[in-house]
Symmetry: D4
Subunit: 255 residues, 8 copies
């Protein structure tokens, strides 16, 4: 319930259009919908600009389909992440229009005419990724930013040990409104890219590595200590979070 709604409701109470008891209940009540295995927060779309995203990990295909159905009916757009093979197959069977992103383990449902739930960003989200093995995380970021309404592109396989591959893209790097930089191993790429541009940069460490990599700890610490100013960081392998934040930065807002 937004402030303007609250004031309107209170005016109704004063005029006798709404009883005090009903108003008290409405102030406290939340427009949530309960399935047997989940509580859907439909108010979220109003509050944060996008309906709840389905986090597929640990859910059965049937549960994912059921939740997707409700969200799709209500909001006309659905993003499901970390959906395994069985889950993607189930969604494909249930929704003919489902867009499957195998490597990114994402599925998108969208009403035909719609371009997304909101006006797209003015600029571009550019996802940059260090190695082939980092691609699933990079594509999760890409899919997320796009489904939310941003233009988004990918530059892949430009690790710091072969600088010429990266420097060849300098122009594109500088043209973006916001960058998402994905890297495993030592996680040096965000620092190098961050030194080339003057744009917000979201760094995503991945679990790609072995031994003293500690499943992503090494690049996570590296990125938190980046010598390039303007770098912020998300959790290990969290392509979704990076894409989501990148869209929030990119989109046209009230301000």
């Amino acid at each position: 319930m937004r402030p303007a709604d609250l004031r309107a409701l209170l005016r109704d109470v004063k005029r006798g259009n709404v009883t005090a008891a009903a108003a008290a209940k409405r102030i406290g009540a939340a427009p949530v919908e309960r399935l047997e295995f989940a509580t859907l927060d439909h108010q979220r779309a109003l509050r944060t600009g996008f309906p709840e995203v389905i986090f597929g990990q640990g859910k059965t295909p049937a549960q994912i389909v059921a939740i997707a159905r409700r969200l799709f009916e209500r909001h006309g757009v659905v993003l499901a992440t970390r959906v395994d093979d069985a889950g993607r197959a189930a969604l494909a069977a249930a929704f003919p229009q489902a867009e499957l992103h195998g490597r990114a383990r994402c599925v998108v449902l969208r009403r035909r005419a719609s371009r997304g739930p909101r006006a797209g960003g003015a600029g571009q989200v550019l996802v940059v990724c260090a190695g082939t093995a980092d691609l699933p995380v990079a594509e999760e970021a890409l899919v997320t930013a796009r489904v939310m309404g941003s233009r988004a592109e990918l530059i892949a396989d430009v690790g710091v040990a072969g600088l010429h591959r990266l420097l060849a893209h300098r122009e594109r790097l500088r043209g973006a409104r916001v960058l998402v930089v994905v890297a495993g191993l030592e996680g040096a790429l965000p620092s190098v890219v961050g030194g080339l541009v003057d744009r917000p940069l979201i760094a995503v460490p991945t679990s790609v590595g072995y031994g003293a990599h500690f499943e992503g700890l090494a690049p996570l610490l590296a990125m938190l200590n980046s010598c390039a100013a303007g770098v912020t960081v998300v959790n290990i392998d969290n392509g979704f979070g990076a894409g989501y934040a990148a869209h929030l930065i990119n989109r046209r807002g009230r301000s």
Copy 2:
């Protein structure tokens, strides 16, 4: 050297205005200035939009003053962070116009007429902080965002254990273009604020705590695992980094 400059240079080479040797040198050369104890990167202002920031920790007052003098002459604006009492006193003595920020341990130098080195942001940076002890970090973010040209404000002492204090500011939270949320202890504030707004949010863990806090590790991990989408994180106590990234998000750009 930006791409347009490179093309211009190559045209000059072709026309014979510049020799090949001179051009090769100029392509490789960096307009850096060497002091006895530091190498100043004056090209940085062109590349990333703001001159080098002085990281005061581990530098003597004399070194800080010397570096500040060069940067100020060249760029007309200087930000020095993590400057201790002696360093701030030395800067105050050397620069009558120095703005001292004691709690934030920052000093700002600015030419009178200038509002900053570049056009300010269209919207507002809002810094929110959980406890009194987190104020130095919050103010470092505030000062940084302002000196770079953003409008920025602070809401202090709104920890999650007293939700009403936070909810009273809901309107202001939603009006910001980008939020910086600073918290020590368990670092829960970014998740709560992130659920109330649909704006990019930069979380800053602080070292305020004891025991199993491990000097900021507890809120750092919490923030990286935030259940609110759109949250990105910087290093422990890195108010500067958060303010810098917030300005990059906020400012009007080419896109």
Copy 3:
């Protein structure tokens, strides 16, 4: 052997009803029962108010059934936790009256007429849980508190990123005698709930998360550093321990 028993025994020794040797043996002896694979401590029910609980992890179905049979014969009530599918099936086959709790992976055996081994608590245990994935741990706490004799209820899926869902339950939260708050990810829920109530609150971190979550370390540290006073913490995923402690707090005692 409780102090009163010791005094009685010593009086018997004085009167010659019991020999010194027999008394010495009885003071040292423990009424334990040895199976081939376990030593059952039947004295425990006297000492701590509830018979030994079967920790199913790492035990075969046959072992679980055998231990359950002895405990049930002697005490009329049995709680088995962390029992996998095969173990639950074996208990269901062996005990027609077995109550199976699939998601919580618990099984309860109870004599018909009995309401539990002891007088129930005067108030209510309220279990609150942040996300769907935390439900197994929350339900383990719920089942434990109930089998021990407490009234206990559950509020599910009220994460901090959707505060309105939580605040809608404020009345119920304040009506409880003791709260168990279960959360994975950043573990912020106990701090928020703890700021709303003046009741003892037991926080349970779960292993729900990925990356820098480190299988529960992130919410564990967060909860240990909670800014809300009155919060105590149990091990990661330890719903049983939280339910047990909640019952001890809730039940009517000698004092």
Copy 4:
């Protein structure tokens, strides 16, 4: 604002006694008081049963005295923890009736006639501590429980390597309503005490140790893994939190 207050306010709005605008403001407003360096949350006493506690660490003596004065005027009782020598001296000078607890580094202010801000607990809080070096933490728990209104006592220096010292107190251990068990080194005491009683037990690890103790990590992990059911844990050296939770468990409540 408690639910009953909300309903009353809404009735006033209906009757025209309060305008809609004023009501909207009051619903959102928090009765907080701003000093230059802190925001006092006077509503907290209503909400959680005790006024804000002053956490002395990192505050100047003058700040502590100023905050104490406001809280004392409003609530008639003040607890300040982690107050160093200078802070305790300043409070003693400002408040003739101040109770100083040197080893626990606490100060208590109380109006003469008052027994505390609320009815005391029906039973007793028993604080048990393993070694001499753990005493400051144990006494912080003791002082906290007492100032909140509980009867509380201390058994000191009963480490597990000299079991007879502990077993000599078995009777007292069993007579308590709730136990706080404080231990450094290997942190084994809560498990041993927990096996002797059927009462809630709050374990407090201390930073007393060296080497692979890692400043309290060793006993913290030990306590989280205690084989005794009913044990919950607070942060390293957090005697205040343990005493606070113990009082919430012990006190007579609505239920």
Copy 5:
């Protein structure tokens, strides 16, 4: 080559019985035997009193049998630890006299008449273990101490949360020459036993636990910080190492 052998060899060189070249070669040479997949150090039995022990983990059944055959021929006694089901079956098929210890995952081969490779200890090794799940590690210690020639016995399932079970064995604890104390969870048992006896005590942490146990880290740290003097520690789950060290302490020696 022991010092006396060196002196004898040098005398032979002087007398011309051995050439200088041959002597230089013999001083450097080691009586090792090379299989395709291992280098057996037969000199070890002379040097440390027991032939090489076969560490079964990561070896195929065929490799284990081949190594066992060589060692058995040469030394008449073999101990193989961490041998899985297939390995134990292969050894049983190859050596009719093989003693299989299923739970301890050990196999012993011994010539009939022999009581072991050396004189047994004068006293007794007593292995004490906290929970049923710690038995495999405890039995590995037991088997190791016995095969080396010590008398060794086991007391099982005497955790600290049921002290009476432990105290009932006080007499036996004090009668041992050396104790091996095995515990998972919080690892408190060595401290309690160490306070009851004046004998060397070897503590063995096990990986039995979950969550903040970190696969044995919790009891490892606890045991390293034991408040009972005379406690030394081996690696997590290292029953073999504890049994080996216990035998070295127990056996009759030159001194």
Copy 6:
């Protein structure tokens, strides 16, 4: 593009042989080849002396074969590491001349006449390994150094607990140009070998161990703290990296 090439290109621009636009493009362009799943950096061989090495982990057999084919055509030599059974079978089927190294999980492809892509080292790389279980890592180092053109040999199973085995090889140790020392468990071997020689020594910790070994952390820390000067360290189980660096040290260079 090496400096000499840049100068030549600029001269061509001046003479009008190359347009400014074409030159600008060529300065930025990189001779990379894109497959559907990888970007091959053929320039690497020029830059660092060896074509890209295929890191097999996480790639399908078909992908490995496809990448190997392109690299082999272009460079005449291919090294693939961390190739599982299926991958090695696929390479064997596709390339009759493939050299399979099962235990090291490596495959080498080489044109008949060629001895490697460059002149071999003047001296010898000596790989030393502590236990049988460390052999796969040691052999990965061996294969890598050889395929790059160094003479390389292996001394296996010379752990520090049987010093005579190691000292028997003293002569060979001192004859090497560079040593690679591979060890799991406590990782002491590099310190002992480092004290015997005056040659560069690369230490490789392995994940061979259990419990407080933390999958290689124990020997990694030991090697980083080696008391022998001249020891440098690579990642846990990184035999490839050690062999590569050893070859760079060993090979004849410009200097």
Copy 7:
């Protein structure tokens, strides 16, 4: 109270020499003495063979002197460890016969005629130490073993990077009944020594090192993973614990 005493007491009860109430009290009572700041456990000498040792860290000189006086009167021998300069001066002033061990930070008090509280060990404790900086810990072990009644000697500065220094002492190493091996840096010495002898060996990691040494963690992990059988480990810098355990192993016992 040992079993024989218990039986005697019970016989007295039967004969009427002792009342049941008095007996019950005596069974529970412990002969402890309370000072204002400590509880002395005089029964400990009976139970474990040596009076309580004073752990000087965190105690004032006055407290140390007071405790020492009581222990000395009762037991005729006192060991105080981790006593700083002021504490040692205070003990020297109070006890003319005090033996001061500056580098080991220990003080010993002993009655003239006495050789220690009990018969010395039959063999010898040999303390071996890797570097000069490890000497304080090594000497703490030496002093402890001696004051308890063992013959004990020291071999210093025999690090593994200079094997010949160590091997020169082979004879002495093999002559000891038990070894204490002290090392910082990579902690390799116990593995090397352990491979040379067939005696129990207690490894003591020290905090001597920097960087990835993590104040003793590196050698602690190394020692726990030693490839030499028979090695047990104590806490970082715990020379006292090692010397104490070494004496228990060395001394003549009942067995």
Copy 8:
């Protein structure tokens, strides 16, 4: 004693020039010199090519001077590292020819005519360092490599966030025989440099940073996971170790 010496000695024994007893003693004896506080290993120079280096940390000025005097008399060259202000002053007073390196905290003593203890390297050691704060560690490497006989140079302040500064030195980077790359913060520099050259590269992480830097852990992990092949790593802040290893790689050898 090198093999040739051993053979010669044995021949002397045969000829009767040396008795067997004397030979046995000489084989075992080490030419060490004992001061009150240290054991000097003069044989080290023969064995590893450079006399013992004085590690100044934890030594008094008087001790450092005494050790330096002995080493200088015997070997004519001394390197002392981690020498604080007082220690450097004492060495300067004692040795007029002392070369003081203040920032590197090193002191070098050298006989006038000598160029070092051995033939210098054929090529050049190039030390590269990321930030001003990393200079002390970089200079320690530089001084070490030089005193051992290598030509060595330094490139400072070329962090990855300003690539042009680094790329300007590409030619010099490629001309070196071996590189030492020193970096704090995220430690990305070795990966970037490693991708530009085909020379051995030793990476040195420094403790320069704060928060999630964990005093050098972040760059240490990054460097161990470097995506550039040929990178090896030394301990945090270990400039000495890097310089020493670089010299061993660079110097002209037998091979």
